[in-house]
């Protein structure tokens, strides 16, 4: 199992921007992109997102693998939508007819979903998970949720190491996953053991935190400062997104 990339290193000017700005820009980009209705605007959004990933210094190889995660769901839509959307028939496959409107709708969905994921990976995915938690708290996400987020992120690496040890033990006993009852039962025991160990860990953590004066609050210590260049970037983001909306209106 490959180690989890919860703090992938980004480079370039995007990684120097304020985390809050990057979250807000990603949100604005997603909201704008979801509302686009023309293929030309959707293609522009995808190109924009792709150039963002380049600017953020993400390797194309790792990107392809993450985009594939989307495509299972999209594939079902791509295959069915052309045949289920009413409109001018342009293609006949057996008893089914594909409509131009359906193909356009399917293409729009493919473009928009990939654009949003690319921009998200570029702007927010290059943040360290802890920095993301801090930025979410600064943006007014409820305190308990931010705390849960930060603590979860801290535990994920430990639990993954635990899972790795348990799986190594299974491999040492020549366990091969198949789709049968033996596999499912073994995985059930694996998850159960993981839970038992994690609950024991939770009690030790709470005790250790109490020893250090934990009174139910985590104090957020981060030193990100909003710079002039962040304001300029925010302005640039607003201009680009307005351009997208304008393009969408004009080519309708």
């Amino acid at each position: 199992m490959t180690p989890l990339m919860l703090s992938p290193g980004g480079s370039g000017w995007i990684s120097e921007r304020d985390p809050r700005l990057r979250i807000l820009c990603a949100l604005a980009f997603a909201l704008t992109t979801v509302g686009l209705t023309t293929p030309s605007a959707a293609i522009t959004a995808l190109l924009l997102a792709a150039s963002l990933t380049r600017a953020a210094g993400i390797r194309p190889g790792s990107l392809g693998r993450r985009l594939l995660a989307l495509e299972g769901f999209i594939l079902v839509l791509l295959v069915t939508l052309p045949f289920t959307t009413p409109g001018a028939a342009i293609l006949h496959v057996g008893p089914l007819t594909a409509s131009a409107e359906g193909i356009q709708l399917a293409a729009l969905i493919l473009l928009k979903s990939n654009a949003v994921v690319l921009s998200l990976l570029a702007l927010v995915g290059t943040l360290e998970a802890v920095a993301l938690g801090h930025a979410l708290a600064r943006l007014g996400v409820p305190e308990k949720l931010a705390h849960l987020f930060l603590m979860t992120v801290r535990q994920i690496h430990l639990m993954q190491a635990e899972l790795g040890r348990l799986r190594q033990a299974m491999r040492a006993r020549a366990f091969m996953p198949r789709s049968d009852w033996h596999t499912w039962r073994s995985y059930g025991w694996l998850v159960g053991m993981l839970l038992v160990r994690s609950l024991e860990r939770a009690q030790r953590i709470l005790a250790a935190m109490r020893c250090r004066g934990f009174d139910g609050r985590l104090y957020l210590l981060d030193s990100t400062r909003w710079e002039t260049r962040d304001t300029i970037a925010a302005f640039g983001c607003a201009v680009l997104l307005s351009g997208l909306i304008l393009l969408d209106r004009m080519s309708r």
């Binding site: 989307l70 979860t152 430990l158 639990m159 899972l163 998850v191 993981l194 009690q203």
Partner: protein, 209 residues
């Protein structure tokens, strides 16, 4: 397949999902006290890691949803735990999207809550392993099937053209429900043997640390 990507659903579905999802998260957060945060976080991390296990399923393979199990063990806390997992998966792995986060949270969290409310009371530290097995089986199957249904409903409400795709998705969820049901059943039966105090449930108050 429980992660709906962005750009698919219609605006009313997105807004309704986000509103109800946020409401659920808010209620769940009010019920969560700070003392239980470390435990919730460790369990949430465990579920996140466990959902990365690739389970072979016939010719293909699937990841576990585990929302039924989370409902049983975490109760209301499952809602923010699922939201945290979905944020991490969207941001770092590219599963799902940003605007659909509310809908995706709702689709996973509502079945988890139903499992907690309907099946949670059947579990206690005194449950025998076979009782625990049956309850776990129901929670696993219910969690996956309800999530599949809700994903299908989200699609169906977004447009007439999505209905066939929604039907295909439900068919995909059926084998997953069987595997997940058996795995969840094994987990709960295992816990009832090894650590029965974890099955106290939220309502009766968990064993004090």
């Amino acid at each position: 397949m429980a992660h709906i990507p962005d750009g698919v659903l219609s605006a009313p579905v997105l807004i309704a999902g986000a509103t109800v999802g946020l409401g659920l998260v808010g209620t769940a957060l009010r019920r969560l006290d700070y003392d239980r945060l470390p435990q919730a976080a460790v369990l949430s991390a465990t579920f996140f890691v466990a959902s990365l296990i690739n389970v072979p399923l016939g010719p293909s393979s699937a990841h576990l949803l585990l929302n039924g199990l989370m409902g049983l063990l975490l109760g209301w806390t499952a809602v923010p735990a699922l939201l945290v997992a979905l944020i991490l998966q969207a941001v770092f792995f590219g599963f799902g999207g940003l605007v659909v986060l509310g809908v995706n949270t709702l689709n996973l969290a509502l079945p988890a809550l139903l499992c907690a409310l309907l099946l949670g009371p059947r579990l206690s530290p005194r449950s025998t392993p076979s009782q625990a097995f049956r309850t776990g089986l129901m929670a696993g199957v219910l969690g996956v099937l309800l999530t599949g249904t809700m994903v299908a409903i989200s699609l169906g409400l977004s447009g007439e053209a999505y209905v066939p795709a929604a039907k295909i998705l439900i068919a995909v969820y059926l084998p997953l429900a069987i595997a997940e049901g058996l795995i969840t059943a094994t987990v709960v039966a295992f816990l009832s043997r090894v650590a029965p105090e974890t099955l106290a449930g939220e309502t009766q108050g968990r064993a004090a640390p």
